[in-house]
Assembly symmetry: D2
């Protein structure tokens, strides 16, 4: 795997039959679908991948099957976020054994730490990891945000090869970019797809965007347009991303609307099952039909 | 185990040698210490027990060793809170296999759910559990609070035998008490020890108070005074609890001060090791000496 | 006015005809109603009084009319919380001119301050005030909570005669009580009525409870029962307070349900108008009828 | 005033001698300074202008003096955010009387409203205003964020000519841009200067950036570079903005560091006094010297 990583790396959903079984056929179709769409890597067992809702056994199977299907065609990043450092390391070793290329780690998410404890946690964890690692900022879920200076401190270890920010805070994102400006092989990715083009225009490496599960080519094209500074084309493609964001992710009133929207769409597209792991449920009939209708009216042609 | 449970049920700290090893001698001394102090049950693998920071293997060992040492002298409650329903059930079965009496479950703590999803999660989980269960409200850590009506809805299943509230919200606590007033065998416990006496005076069943790890007799006496409506004695003992709360738990500026204070005190009292699992660290020399000095000036005599 | 203050001091609603006019007849009936109910003082222009939603001219009129009607029969406390220290002092002088007995001040609520700034703000404000003052803790609205040590620091000025806590945090309330235990003439009141009895049992001075606008006698009786350590009577009356809290304050889904419930009830009881100042609206017909129905089934007889 | 507005509109600091007196000479120098820097308008009495900390009398004087000094050379926008609709309208009339061109209004910030109440508040307020108005989103201070659909609903009244977002949420900003895409004369401005260039590249109208008080030319140049799609120049100038943001705004640990940094810098530059209205204090000697040192090493040459 060459660093720095760049481009569109979808945070893969985990296709499920039920709480305890992978939809392996769906996973195969999904991986082929995103590869065909031109993505630059694959990230499994993130928030969109419902990692925390899956048992350790199932996470292990997901690593194994994804690695088998991907077969080294693209970099494979594996989420190892956990509240236990010991189990996190265990998962990292499994990922390495199955040929993953890099790990992704969000802070422990039960007790929230302060900044010094957060830095120390990673200074303790990273030497025990068998692969290079991305830091993953997800403050709505972990209740703590990496201070830009904490990112820099942790990244003094060269095994830390990147940072993914899902805070949606644009001022913060720029602050991290500035703090890390001299780390040439360090990748900075943004989670929320609505911001991907603008941060790439400002120099970020790419996006870990959930929508790329469904429409990988659109996100890759938008990334390329931004990277090539084709502003008019960025405007055109951005409006298509916003079409998706303002419709598919906004059905129902719960925080899980985004995830339900993505899985329902993948199901309608014939790619994989729409089962969500507990504590969430897939959409009911009404919402399903609403998504179907949205998909029929979406205009993603360029 | 007779229901409803009542009294002081310490949320046991998990004595540790390092991130991956129990301090078993310490655990033995700790359990004997709290039994000698008159507590009414023991709750392992809660927030004070750093459950989320421990590997599954270590949590399993903690269940096994606690059960062996306790040897059915008191009810044993085991925390099974997890983000994965499958692993939560797994842990529940292990608890049942080792002779635990009841389970304690906080909501999944990565994704926050809405109230209907929270109720459905428990309606899905509870029938799969081999033991009766307490609901555990811990909104600062889980990002969701059980609405009183949600507690009632979940408690329609008679396997739900109690509720532990660590929100520290006194108005909310009364609202749950009122909502559940007709459930005669249902126990309502409070987490924060500063509020224990007052809620017992108003009819609550008891406290799951961290300070009872260190000074079990004090908390048992305060509980008894409140239960017996001895208000003057409540005032006297409450001031001693507040002495502890306002000193031992308030060293340093981090959210983990409480936990560090308890473990440091237990170490100074010769009961168990003061190692904290990652992401936390035990106190340094200065804070250690401060706690030592506090302990010398504490006046807990009645 | 004798200190320390104690008992039930209703946070008076401000009867309104529209955004810019007092319902003076309603105000007269309301004040007579609470005096007849045995309350120990009156607090105007608090959160329940919608002070922040009223113009300065209207706040001035409310002070003038309340003082006239009350006519020194009970202590009159006037809220002067503002984001501008200058206008806050102005309002304090108006209150003094119209014969108020004490002031009540919550922290500036636009910019949130840190603790040192909060202490310094009050050290700057208090010497410029013409009357003794209560500190008012309302963190959901002001975004900052007085640390117990900050209360103590500010209360070194003997013009600070009390503290009202509307945080609903029971552990915090006890911490402030403990911190201030040696200040004999200092009053500590609780806002949320659901907690009033329990904190009075533990030594607090009383309650500033919104429900006492509607049913002053009930809250006074509950206060007296707690003060007299009549636990069984506390249980009986507490259940009546919880009847109110769990019904009247819980119609609709907005944060203003409590306020709407109180004003609608006062209107149904024939006491005053139910107009709410912008940004809120009074209940519509459906909610009004629901409150009416609740009132018919409430059983407040002892 | 032509609409839509665009460009850099500094949220002017309010130069103060003390809590109750303007530094009028400083205000004159400040306004000339930003005009000389090429800004496109001036916004007084916003968050950076400490409006909420100023008395009504002082806010009135600030409007009068700013209008006099500005003398119609640029559009003058006046913040009327208040918790009282009546006083907000009063302030709006004063602004109109002194020749302001537009008003800026953030939601009432004591009680937080829900979305329907927020929309109704503005549907009530706007017809009573004598001038066109910008909506101002500032959720950290007001505790509520305008939903994109709420912005659209309120903007059905053509007196609503723009939106200023200080949430720093990049995904949200794009959502509002998309929701309002068909409103051709509607201006969308961003508050945090760190995000200004990227949102202008994506089609936003400009920035209301605090840094433009100090270095107006830099922000104007960055705005122009973004508007002209000169990406390399954007990168260069963005790094200079980040130099400022990562140094001047980050001294000390309080939320008011930004404001203190700006006022201290303006004082060192000889433009105006560095007094901050209560509840804040200007920097002490140590922080002052730190800012001085930063200013000496800042490299803002292009």
């Amino acid at each position: 795997m060459k660093t720095p990583l760049y481009g569109i790396i979808p945070p893969l959903v985990t296709p499920l039959i039920d709480n305890d079984h992978l939809d392996i056929d769906g996973l195969e179709r999904l991986i082929e679908h995103v590869i065909a769409g031109g993505v630059h890597g694959i990230f499994i067992l993130g928030t969109t991948g419902e990692a925390q809702s899956l048992s350790y056994a199932l996470r292990t199977e997901m690593i194994k099957e994804s690695s088998r299907i991907l077969n080294e065609r693209l970099p494979l990043l594996v989420g190892i976020s956990d509240t236990s450092i010991v189990d996190s390391i265990l998962l990292a070793r499994i990922a390495a054994d199955f040929g993953a290329n890099a790990l992704v780690s969000a802070p422990p998410y039960y007790f929230a730490t302060g900044q010094p404890e957060l830095a120390e946690f990673y200074e303790n964890l990273i030497p025990q990891l068998p692969l290079p690692v991305f830091l993953y900022n997800m403050p709505t879920h972990t209740k703590v945000s990496f201070a830009p200076s904490t990112v820099k401190r942790i990244a003094e270890n060269s095994k830390v090869i990147g940072f993914k920010d899902s805070s949606a805070n644009g001022a913060y994102f720029q602050a991290v970019m500035y703090e890390m400006r001299k780390h040439e092989n360090f990748s900075i990715f943004v989670g929320p797809e609505e911001m991907m083009a603008e941060v790439v225009l400002l120099g970020a490496n790419g996006g870990v965007n959930g929508g790329a599960n469904m429409f990988p080519r659109l996100y890759v094209n938008l990334y390329n347009a931004a990277r090539n500074k084709e502003i008019d084309r960025v405007h055109l493609l951005q409006s298509k991303v916003m079409q998706i964001s303002s419709s598919i992710y906004s059905i129902g009133s719960f925080g899980s609307s985004y995830l339900k929207g993505v899985k329902t769409t993948l199901s309608i597209l014939g790619i994989c099952n729409d089962f969500l792991a507990a504590p969430f449920n897939k959409f009911g009939e009404i919402q399903y039909m609403k998504i179907k209708q949205i998909l029929e009216t979406l205009d993603l042609t360029e």
